[in-house]
Subunit: 357 residues, 2 copies
Amino acid sequence: MIRTDARLADGRDLFYYSSSAAHEAPTDIRDLEPRSGTGELRYDALDGDWVSVAGHRQGRAFLPSTAECPLCPTTPGNVTEIPAPSFEVVVFENRYPSFQDPGDAPGVDAGLLAAGPNAGRCEVICFSDDHDASFADLDVERIRLVLDALADRTVALLEIPYVRHVFPFENCGEEIGVTIRHPHGQVYGYPFVPPRALSRLENARRHAEATGRDLVRDVIDAELADGSRVVAQTEHWVAFVPFAARWPFHMQVHPRRDVLDLSGLDDAERDDLAVLQRVLLRRLHGLFGVRMPYIAGWFQAPKGPLREHARLHLEIVSNRRAPGKLKHLAGSESAMGAWINDIRPEDAARMLREVEL
Amino acid sequence: MIRTDARLADGRDLFYYSSSAAHEAPTDIRDLEPRSGTGELRYDALDGDWVSVAGHRQGRAFLPSTAECPLCPTTPGNVTEIPAPSFEVVVFENRYPSFQDPGDAPGVDAGLLAAGPNAGRCEVICFSDDHDASFADLDVERIRLVLDALADRTVALLEIPYVRHVFPFENCGEEIGVTIRHPHGQVYGYPFVPPRALSRLENARRHAEATGRDLVRDVIDAELADGSRVVAQTEHWVAFVPFAARWPFHMQVHPRRDVLDLSGLDDAERDDLAVLQRVLLRRLHGLFGVRMPYIAGWFQAPKGPLREHARLHLEIVSNRRAPGKLKHLAGSESAMGAWINDIRPEDAARMLREVEL
């Protein structure tokens, strides 16, 4: 993996990731407005967490036509976020970030009506220069390059002083909220450990204190012993539908070895994962004969407290429960945080196993 | 308010709520299958919470035509869940419940692969026999009757031994996941205090221990002192967009007096609320000239520990951020629990205040 560093017209970083030689890095010829940087992080005193208020994001691209796609390579007719005429994998800072460089702005402590800068970093990663590809269409070598790029971004973002936690993810499909169709993912560097990652870490700490054992390891062992929800196993990875799956189709993908984040995976694990991730997404898309919307996101170790309780794993969830039906996060899930799943996890696992590839 | 108790053909409870006289209660002439009752409550060991797995719910009605609506009054051509030919407000047990009577099944403690009965109760409340009405179209007297019915259900469900927490809510609009268009809400009796209610109670307890004061009261006072996010005030109620609003349009509605649940509201407070709730929903629908999808849900006091830290309030949230754009709960919100809001709460409050009714 070779990284070529570049910069966009408004000063944002851009990185070309290539499998063989250094990439050419043409100049960004656009006359861009300076970055807005008006976001805020606000403390929700009732719920006890932080919300990013990013009003400047309302202006971002919303389902642009292919001819105007900002994630395609630049052509004479469409000058995009990527100045090069072709690329393999490219990463750049989001023009409409939810979290951004706070400059000299001071941080802020939790409290009634407490607000501070939405310090952090939001990057976009394009998986291909082919506008019509999807992650499941990529070849294994390209997925491997994406994994290398995400591992590199994880290390880079954790080095930023105001970043505490790095979350690489892909939203795929308009039904899950995608606003640009070009195949891409995102990497968020949060200034806090986000609530769901934090509760997993705290549960793991409690489990370790009570039993002396590792929670994620015990969950994996229990799933393998039971077997009814296992979707696939490889030399280095295990994929299953969790026992208490929240979504109609919900997979967890764990390395067999304890690893803190993507940068801790060795070459054999990355090669193996590239093959498996492609298989799992193709199984998902094969369920109903229609492309499935999904969120694929990595749980990784944060900086600081509880770091040692983290275990790298990937979650892939889809909100499609039947060909013409979506699961919505309505009253029970959105307002109360209480999840209801209409598909038995064992049935979901069987359906995924039975898809012919 | 007068309640008339009845029973459906498969044994489910049905209650007619009327403003004047006792309701006629015709016999349910359908030949219904016995209730399925195959749901399960499963413990998610990584996240530390409970998920209801209710596979039988996949068979529930999905956007039925008006002629086949199961929530309309029964006619010769459409024998529905409500045997009467007309009604004001009616409540009945959901035929496809996420939580239900566990019978003699034993409960279960948290643990790896721990599962038990999804004990609890799910009720449907119809606000009107007019299929095409919406809550905002109801007259004030009808809204008052709905409030009385919800207060009655709250008391009744809290008396059930296996119910810990009662959540009355309305999902409105297909964009938020409604599967039946007839104007209706739901009342869930959970066998646990759901995660979001629990974290509010724990934050209130911590605040009380640290300051000797009431968290919700302090939040209301801070919002009134600031004023920029206040949408409406009445003699007994205050409505504002929270400082750290999670949704593009997000209102909290609090009584000025400390009240534990809907049954604790006096007549004057209920009368006042009926007027205000109608105004707030009409402001919401008036924002963009298109009907807004929303979730309206009541935070109430649970049974047992932390009960004294609860303060009744209503949250109304919409996922519409612009006429043609919805907010989706994608990677950051769904996977990490970290919320990003594209509309400044002060702007949302101003827009809501400026709607002409």
